[in-house]
């Protein structure tokens, strides 16, 4: 499978082409419901995580929350 490079929270990551945002988040062992995602400067709505396919050079910022307050 062909790979590509993206940047996530400042780090370069090599990932498989065609991967969706939700798969990428799950592969990091994070619960997508608890994550705010910004891709190339745009905040991605939660209901788009399943369909957004990452592409070469994307710059992702993920902010993950844990419970308690």
């Amino acid at each position: 499978m062909t790979t590509m490079k993206i940047t996530c929270n400042g780090e370069t990551k090599e990932i498989n082409q065609g991967i969706t945002l939700i798969s990428f988040i799950k592969d990091l062992d994070l619960n997508p419901d608890n994550v705010v995602a910004e891709c190339d400067g745009t905040i991605i709505k939660r209901d788009k995580y399943d369909t957004l396919v990452l592409t070469e050079g994307n710059v992702l910022e993920l902010i993950r929350f844990v419970g308690g307050g």
Partner: protein, 265 residues
């Protein structure tokens, strides 16, 4: 000129603060000059701000304001009393953030929570036994008005959502995210970044347990947007939420809200 309980009066050399009792506050027995307690015999200087108080008496709004002004850094109160702050979630974080802001004389608080006070809340949330079963919005409002009766308070007692947040809090200068549920924390930040450009935002993540005090950090995400906590200490079986550490995070939040209002970002 000097200021005496909100009034500006001419300065006369040689005046001691006790000389103002008869004309400004009969029976006053507590004297504050420029924010600090003073003895009755203290000589006044031109430009001093004086508060005369009768011990045990509830101050009027004007007196309360002058007391707050006197206790704060000059210029701060002018900003704080105009500020509107929204608080989402009135638990261990929200009740403490609200209390700290009420005590510094914030202009208006918008308090939002759908829940009622339960016994399990009392280990960290600023409610009392007599308030069990009350809506949190009403219980907290009651408590805040005991701390400072001159804070304007609005309440919203329905479940918040990503869609409703911009509507409910459309007038705020700063929004405090004090939710328990991590999905709501994420939804709130997403909503604000998308729909409410320009407001301040102070959220929290990682406040459970009794880990190192100094692992609670104030992290800047972008201009006027902050997340407080250690990012990892989730509330989960084996790691409870307790008043001390939640309180540390809540006061980080309150101080950061003040810093945003004062444009110290």
């Amino acid at each position: 000129m000097i200021k005496v309980n909100e009034q500006t009066v001419p300065y006369q050399e040689g005046t001691r603060i006790k000389d103002l009792v008869e004309t400004h506050k009969a029976g006053a027995d507590i004297f504050i000059i420029n924010g600090f307690p003073a003895s009755p015999d203290t000589l006044l200087a031109d430009g001093d701000t004086c508060c005369l108080i009768r011990r045990g008496e509830v101050p009027t709004a004007g007196e309360m304001e002058s007391l707050l002004v006197a206790r704060h850094t000059p210029g701060l109160h002018e900003v704080v009393k105009k500020a509107v702050v929204g608080i989402m979630g009135l638990g261990g974080l929200g009740t403490v953030v609200a209390g700290a802001l009420a005590r510094i004389g914030i202009g208006k608080l918008i308090l939002a929570d759908f829940d009622v006070v339960e016994p399990s809340n009392l280990n960290r949330q600023q409610y009392t036994i007599s308030q069990l079963g009350m809506k949190k919005t009403n219980a907290l409002k009651e408590n805040l008005l005991q701390m400072n009766p001159y804070v304007a308070i609005e309440t919203f007692d329905e479940l918040l959502s990503e869609e409703s947040i911009p509507e409910v809090f459309d007038t705020v200068d700063v929004l405090a995210e004090c939710f328990d549920d991590p999905a709501m924390k994420a939804a709130a930040l997403s909503s604000v970044l998308t729909n409410m450009p320009g407001i301040g935002y102070v959220g929290a993540s990682g406040v459970a347990g009794y880990g190192d005090n100094n692992s609670i950090k104030t992290q800047k995400i972008r201009k006027n947007i902050y997340i407080i906590g250690d990012n990892v200490s989730a509330a989960e079986p084996g790691q409870g939420l307790m008043a001390p550490r939640v309180g540390i995070a809540a006061h980080h939040q309150a101080n950061q809200i003040l810093r945003i209002l004062l444009e110290e970002d």
